[in-house]
Amino acid sequence: MPKKYDTPLLNELEKGPWPSFVTEIKKAAAWNKMAADELGQLEKSYRTRLVYWKHGGIVGVRGYGGGIIGRYSELPDEFPEVAHFHTVRINQPTGWFYSTDALRMTCDIWDKYGSGLTNMHGSTGDMVLLGTRTESLEPIFAEFSSRGWDLGGSGSAMRTPSACIGQARCEWANIDSLDICNEMTQEFQDEMHRPAFPYKFKIKVSGCACDCVAAIARADCSIIGTWKGDIKIDQDAVKWYAKNGTDIQNWIVDMCPTKCMSYDGKELKIDNKNCNRCMHCISKMTKALKAGDEKGATICIGSKAPIVVGSLLSWVIVPFIKVEPPYDNLRALIRKMIEWWDEYAKPRERIGELIESKGMRSFLEYIGVPPVPQQIKEPRKDPFWFFHGDDIENIKKLEAEEKKTGKYKF
């Protein structure tokens, strides 16, 4: 039987209308010894205001450097069941689509080998299984891999790429975010499982600028669906929205970040050359407004959370790129980015930080992307470097080529 702990401080966190993590741990603790000791140690932490976890070390499955994060209790004599409390990251299916059978299978394995506690999902996107012992790691991996599942990324590696639900369930998706994410996951298998980078590298794919996976804030390489050309307007549908209570002036036109829209009570007009494709109007009036037909992606670089040094948002480096199977252009571009970063970065330096210290010009020259005026740090701001005469010539050549071939390059 699991040990029962008195938890007056944790009990406070069960009060109120919201779901409580304490209640969930208690449910698991009723039958699982690890969950019971986890509860006991946590109560002690609340009492003493000290944390008793150590993390890291040599913990993993054979041949893999990622997917398992070692965690140990500093009080193994007092809480022996959480002496080891390792985390297992399972590579989520793209877009987080699970059958109920898959979830049952996952839970059964975790009830058998782990604490019965999970995170759905970790912030990188993986399915996170919380708390198991070192000797259970190989059996857990065997159970999952024999069913076609794999570990996700951790440490100085390519982290598990993630994507929004894309065209599988969303009318706004400009690109097949699911397919791109899946292809990138297959492409970078070695980099995910054998950590050899200076630090982590994340790829996230959003179908549109609504950016449901927050790629612009969390991914070293953000791939965000967009379009070229004019937004298509169905004026009858605009009238329908107005008639059915949509305050077009206040909710749509006045909220446009570039003020490129106007509405006279009858007709909605968009000055498309000033539109920055933010998706606000399209997401508010889906029946009336549709993205242009020429679909592709904007590639941004360098966002990260505040760990080590401050947080960064992604910068545009490729304003528009066609992304179609087999995505060779995307694979080559990302490989070049990683190559540059791997060559120059200090340990635990993210690519965005390296660009800040070494300069965007050095980065762009290495990856072979020409400087263009759209490469800005924030919308409606000037580009952040001085153009050389050669750059201007290159832009002109590029524009001429696009005009001649009718194909958008960048």
């Binding site: 054979r62 000797e135 054998r194």
Partner: protein
């Protein structure tokens, strides 16, 4: 140079760094390649084969990964000793 000799060199490099510096896969390949003249890619291939055998392990600390010789205690926990 024979594969066994390269393997021995890899262990020597890691043994020497133990407790002083955490070496990444890339560092091990560079050092061994410089000291033996063997191509870095070849060293990487051999290093990974040792990792696959379980005689070396990736280690993780504060988000950064390195390669280490596993302790006996760890190998016992894993049922490999």
């Amino acid at each position: 140079m024979e594969v066994e000799e390269i393997k021995k060199k890899i262990f020597e490099v890691l043994e020497k760094a133990k407790g002083k510096k955490k070496l990444k896969e890339k560092d091990v390949c560079r050092i061994v390649s410089e000291e033996t003249g063997v191509d870095k890619e070849e060293v990487k291939r051999i290093l990974r084969s040792i990792i696959d055998e379980g005689k070396l392990c990736y280690s993780y600390s504060g988000g950064a990964s390195s390669v280490e010789i596993p302790s006996e205690e760890y190998l016992k926990e894993k049922g490999m000793l």
